[in-house]
Symmetry: C2
Subunit: 229 residues, 2 copies
């Protein structure tokens, strides 16, 4: 039933014979599952669907994972690990805050255009049990805080204009999250062009050096109130 790209087929091979390779097979399950979860959502992808895709039967999956949730949590873990590593590298750099933010934008885009990065953003952690949800949301919150710290650092060193770092970081991260929904790796749009445009549009708004001239925000606010009673 589910239409899958040819890229998934290779994982079948691992299960084609019964040679012992638990780590490899576990990984194959994860790669197949994350693709299917992204395409059809976690809730609408049954364990049977995943098993069929790998040319095995459902109970075989339970040889590698205790339950469905463990697959999802593992996917989240792999995805957040990627983001954490990127932030480690950026924080270790000696650069103005604005440059770090620019690096973050580019790096974050690169990660969330991959399967596991995109999973962190697109998959609904509300499907998790209370325990799993707490774990995953904790990691997400930690990432948010580190991004906010990046912006606050830029405000301290003067490369970023004074702003509400909490709001700015949400805007920053949120705009990139949007990409995870519409961007298609196989599509016609060039990723480096998108990245460049994102970096330019977002860092310009943050940059210091243009005190108030750009746009009088009060006008926009007043305009908003008279629209649609």
């Amino acid at each position: 039933m589910p239409r899958q790209s040819a890229a998934l087929k290779p994982h079948r091979r691992l299960f084609a014979d019964r040679r012992r390779n638990p780590d490899g097979k576990r990984e194959a399950v994860l790669h197949t599952a994350v693709r299917m979860f992204l395409e059809r959502s976690y809730g609408r992808t049954s364990m049977n669907d995943v098993a069929l895709q790998l040319n095995i039967t459902k109970p075989a999956l339970y040889h590698y994972f205790r339950n469905k949730e463990e697959i999802l949590v593992e996917i989240y873990r792999l995805g957040t690990d990627l983001i954490d590593e990127m932030l480690d590298a950026i924080e270790a750099d000696e650069k103005p805050g604005l440059d770090k933010v620019a690096d973050f934008i580019a790096g974050y885009i690169r990660i969330i255009t991959g399967d596991f990065g995109r999973a962190v953003i697109r998959l609904d952690d509300g499907e998790l049990s209370a325990a799993g949800r707490k774990l995953v949301r904790g990691r997400k919150r930690e990432i948010d805080h580190r991004v906010r710290a990046l912006i606050e650092g830029g405000m301290k060193d003067g490369s970023i204009a004074s702003c509400n770092a909490k709001i700015a970081s949400f805007l920053l991260v949120g705009s990139i999250h949007g990409m995870a929904s519409w961007y298609e790796p196989a599509g016609p749009m060039d990723l480096s062009a998108i990245t460049a445009e994102y970096v330019r549009l977002l860092t310009t708004g943050l940059a210091n050096g243009l005190p108030e001239l750009a746009y009088p925000g009060s006008v926009a606010l007043k305009a908003g109130t008279h629209l649609h009673g």
Copy 2:
């Protein structure tokens, strides 16, 4: 089982007696359903849950809606109507494109901080049947196009700097969509402050008048490539 805010209780009253009021009751179902869908997702909210919340039983719901999907489609319709009306008003205005974009940001934030507006963004249209999905996605796409046209108009009249309108509109809309996830009306953050910050950050990036000085995008791109092999 589901914890609900007191704001839902009033809708129970309508069902408390059996006075004939189909329109009012239908609306009460929609208001209750959208709240629950937003809190627990469409998939994890059963018809029984909705009925219990209204102090009736499941079959009574089928007196007002043919099936569960009809409720969701109706919610999408109400939400997209709000957005359409706002865009109508903005397009009718005689303003520079950048000002229209600013108005859109403020108006869009206002709408998506309400239940039905937020539903358009947060609820997963993948839960719909092929027919419903086509309908809803068509309306969403139409909105995207109108936002893009706003930006293109600003480029034509010179108020917005030359950029890829498709990417810019995605960034714009995406950043606001992020709000629908983290913003809580009852929370501590002031909505008008958030709106002002969003308008300022986003319109500054778009505005014309600062040719290339703000930030050299090429640096950020190069920096991105060496992060995390």
